[in-house]
Symmetry: C2
Subunit: 417 residues, 2 copies
C-alpha cells in the first residue's frame, strides 16, 4: 500500500492486527472426541458440566476420629472429653453403623463420615486411654475438618468453559468428576511456503550466494508450540505462477498460510500481487511500524489469513508473536485472543540505554539476569540479522511505538520465548 | 523417619531434595538420532559444532547498491556522489563480475557482495538519475550494511551445548547451518502407581466412600509437559504384596517411580516399608516442612528415585514442582537442574494478609491480575483439598520456611502453572 506520494504506508501493529480481525471469522477445525489422557493442551469445544457432586459424600480432611462436635464442646488439655472408640472406618467403604452420643470412629483423610458424626478431631488432638477410650483435648465446631457433599463441585456446575486449553490439573479434575472423554477442536493446520531463488534446504550444500532455509523450521516449531500443525510445503522460486499455484493448493488444507522470504523488493510486491489476485479482500496491510518486521504483508483470501513474512529470522519470530499467534489462537477456538497474556510478558529493568527510532514499535533480543532480587534484561547487541543472537535470547524487550528509546534502569516489558 | 521421641521428623524442602541428589546419579535414556523437524523440546546429548561459516559469504543487510565505500566519502544531500549502475546481483548467485571504481551494483537484502565492493548504500539514500547513473547522498563507512563471512557463526564454533532443550529458534539455527539431524537423549519414563482401596478409575461409577483417581491424570499431564513419558500403571489396593510387586516390575521400565495415594497412616508407613525392603539406600526422607505436601516420602532403590506422594491433589502438584521436576530434568540430561528458573517463577504483590505456620514452606493457589501496571496475586481461599481451586489457579504463591505469613501488598514469588 502506498500513500499519495507513492511512499510505502506503514501502520501501527494494533491497527494492522485490527484489519485482520475485522475481516477474519475464525472457524476452528471440527471437534473430535478424545480420552482425557490424550487431551493435554487441547481446546474444549463445549462447556463441561458435572453430572455429580464432588465429593459425593462427607469426607474427612485429616487423620483422626469422626465425632459429634457437641461431644467435644468445652474440651481442653486440662479438661478433656472422653469418647468411646467403637469403630474404624475403612477407606472406600460406606460406614455400616450410626455413631451414638459419646462415640468416636477412627477415620483417615478422605474417609466417609458415618451418620451421627459432624466433625473430625485430629489424631494429634487426642490421647488414646485404652483400646476403647480416647481423650479429646479440643473443642470442635460442627463441620470442622470435613468437606461436605458437593462442597467442591455441585451436580450441574460448569467446571470448564468452552475455549479453555487443558492443563494437567484440569485433566485431573475431569478424571475426578467421572469424565473419561471430552470433545476438543481439531488443531489448525498452518502452511509454510518458503520462497527465494537463493534458499536451499539444510541437507543440501550451499553454493556462494545461497543460504539455507531456516525460517520454515523456526516457524514450524513456533506453530507446534502454540498447538497448531505446521505443514512445511517446501521451497519455491520467486515466480508469480509458482507462488500462486502453491498458495492456491495450500488453501485446500490449511487454516492459515505463511509465505516466508522474498527479500527482494520485487518479490515482496509479487507476493502482495498474488494475494490480491486470488481473492477478496486480498492484502489488508503491507508494511507495519515495527522493527524488525516492517515489510510484513497481511491479508485474507476466501476467509483464510495469509501472511507474507520478511526473510529476516528475527523478524519472523517477532511477526509470529504479534500477528500469527493471535490468529492461530482464534482459529484454535481458544477464548483468550490476545497474543500476550499476563504470563508470557514479564517486566524487567533494561541493562543499558537503548536508542530507538520514533514512530515504530521495536523488539530487541535480551537475556534475563537476576540481581539483588530484581530481574534485569540485558540487550544482545551485534549486527541485526545474526542468528546466534536468537539462540542467546530469553525473550524480546518491547520498546513501544511512542518511545524514542530506553534509559538504563527503566522498566521494560519482555516477551518470554 | 522418627525422632528420639517417636515423632515423625520433618525436614526442610532443600534438605530433602539434597538427600535425593546426594545419592542419585542421573543416567539419561540412550541418545537417539532425530531429524531436526522432530526435535522440538528434546535435550541435546552432545555439543553441536558448526562445519561452516555463517554466512558463507559477505551479504547485504539492506536493499540498495553495493559500492566501494571510498566512492561515497563526503557525499551529502547537497553534494551527492555519482555512480555508474552497471550490474544487478541476482539472489542465490555469485556475482560474475568485479566492481570497478565509481561503479554500483543493485543488490537486495541477503544478496552476495561482488569483489571490489565493501559496503551497501540503502535505496532510500540514492536517487536514480537515468538507467545507468545513480546519486548517492550519504557517505558510507567500509563494511556498512554488510554481514561479513563468519560474522554470525564461525566454522568450528559450538552453536548449542549438550544438555540444551531445543526451542523453535534453535531448530532454525540448526537448519541455517546445514544440520538436518541431531542426537538427543531418550525421554525418561515415569511410572505412576495409584494406591488406595477407595480409588476407582474415572470411567467407573463411584459408590459411597469411594473417590475417583485424579492424581494419576494430573501427574501424567505434568510429566508430559516436562518432557517425560508417563506410564500410568493402574490402581492397586493398599496391600504390601501388591504394592511391592508393581513397584518391582516398574523398576524394569522406568527411570522414576511415583506412588500416589495411600492416605491412611498405615498405608504411608507401608509404602515406606516397601521402598526400604526392595533395596539400598531405600527411604531418604519421610515428611517435609511443606504445606501442602508434608507426608511426602522420597527414596532411591537400585539407583531409581521413588516418591510416595500424599493423596491430596494440590499436594501432588506442589510435590511435583519441588521434587519430581528437578529429578526428571536431571534424568532428561537437561543442564539446568533447579526446578524454578527465572521464567517459571515471577514476582507479584499479594492481595491480602495470609497467615502461615512457622517452620514450614507454604504454597497457596493464586490467580493473577494486573492493576495499574503491577501484578497482583489473589489467593484462592476455601477449604483445603478442593479440586476447583486448582482449576482457578494461575500459579502457586510461595511463603518461605522462615516467614510466618504475608502482609497485603508484600512481594511474593509465584510459580506459574
Amino acid at each position: 500500500m502506498r500513500d499519495m506520494l507513492g511512499r510505502e504506508e506503514v501502520i501501527p501493529v494494533e491497527e494492522a492486527l485490527g484489519r485482520i480481525f475485522s475481516h477474519f471469522i475464525p472457524k476452528p477445525p471440527p471437534s473430535v472426541k478424545l480420552p482425557i489422557d490424550q487431551s493435554l493442551g487441547r481446546v474444549l469445544s463445549y462447556d463441561v458440566f458435572s453430572d455429580e457432586n464432588l465429593p459425593e459424600f462427607r469426607r474427612s480432611t485429616v487423620d483422626g476420629y469422626a465425632v459429634s462436635a457437641s461431644d467435644t464442646f468445652g474440651a481442653t488439655e486440662g479438661i478433656p472429653a472422653y469418647l468411646n472408640m467403637r469403630y474404624e472406618i475403612k477407606m472406600g467403604e460406606e460406614p455400616a453403623f450410626e455413631l451414638a452420643k459419646g462415640e468416636a470412629a477412627r477415620i483417615a483423610t478422605g474417609g466417609m463420615l458415618p451418620l451421627g458424626a459432624d466433625a473430625v478431631i485430629m489424631l494429634e488432638q487426642t490421647q488414646q486411654i485404652d483400646a476403647e477410650m480416647i481423650e479429646a483435648v479440643k473443642s470442635l465446631a460442627p463441620g470442622e475438618n470435613v468437606i461436605q457433599a458437593g462442597d467442591d463441585v455441585k451436580k450441574g456446575d460448569c467446571i470448564l468453559k468452552k475455549g479453555h486449553r487443558l492443563r494437567p490439573q484440569d485433566i485431573g479434575v475431569l478424571a475426578g468428576t467421572g469424565i473419561p472423554e471430552i470433545a476438543a477442536y481439531g488443531k489448525p493446520k498452518v502452511s509454510i511456503i518458503s520462497t527465494g531463488d537463493e534458499i536451499v534446504p539444510p541437507e543440501r550444500p550451499v553454493k556462494p550466494g545461497q543460504v539455507r532455509d531456516m525460517n520454515s523450521y523456526n516457524l514450524a516449531g513456533l506453530i507446534s508450540s502454540a498447538g497448531g500443525i505446521p505443514l512445511r510445503k517446501g521451497i519455491f522460486s520467486d515466480e508469480y505462477t509458482d507462488i500462486r499455484s502453491i498458495l492456491e493448493s495450500s488453501m485446500k488444507d490449511s487454516g492459515i498460510i505463511l509465505i516466508t522470504g522474498g527479500s527482494s523488493v520485487g518479490t515482496k510486491d509479487m507476493t502482495a500481487q498474488v494475494i490480491n489476485d486470488i481473492g477478496e479482500p486480498g492484502v489488508l496491510f503491507h508494511g507495519v511500524a515495527l522493527k524488525p518486521g516492517k515489510p510484513l504483508i497481511g491479508g485474507l483470501v476466501h476467509g483464510i489469513p495469509v501472511f507474507g513474512l520478511p526473510g529476516h529470522p528475527a523478524a519472523v519470530t517477532v511477526c509470529f508473536y504479534l500477528f500469527i499467534l493471535p490468529v492461530l489462537k482464534a482459529l484454535s477456538g481458544e477464548s483468550v485472543r490476545t497474543a500476550g497474556t499476563i504470563k508470557d510478558i514479564i517486566r524487567a529493568r533494561i541493562d543499558r540505554n537503548i536508542a530507538s527510532g520514533p514512530g515504530r514499535e521495536e523488539h530487541i533480543g535480551v537475556s534475563l539476569e537476576e540481581r539483588n532480587g530484581e530481574l534485569w534484561a540485558v540487550p544482545l547487541l551485534g549486527k541485526s540479522g545474526l542468528l546466534t543472537t536468537m539462540i542467546k535470547s530469553d525473550g524480546l524487550a518491547i520498546i513501544p511505538l511512542r518511545k524514542t528509546g530506553l534509559e538504563a534502569g527503566e522498566i521494560v516489558e519482555v516477551r518470554l520465548f
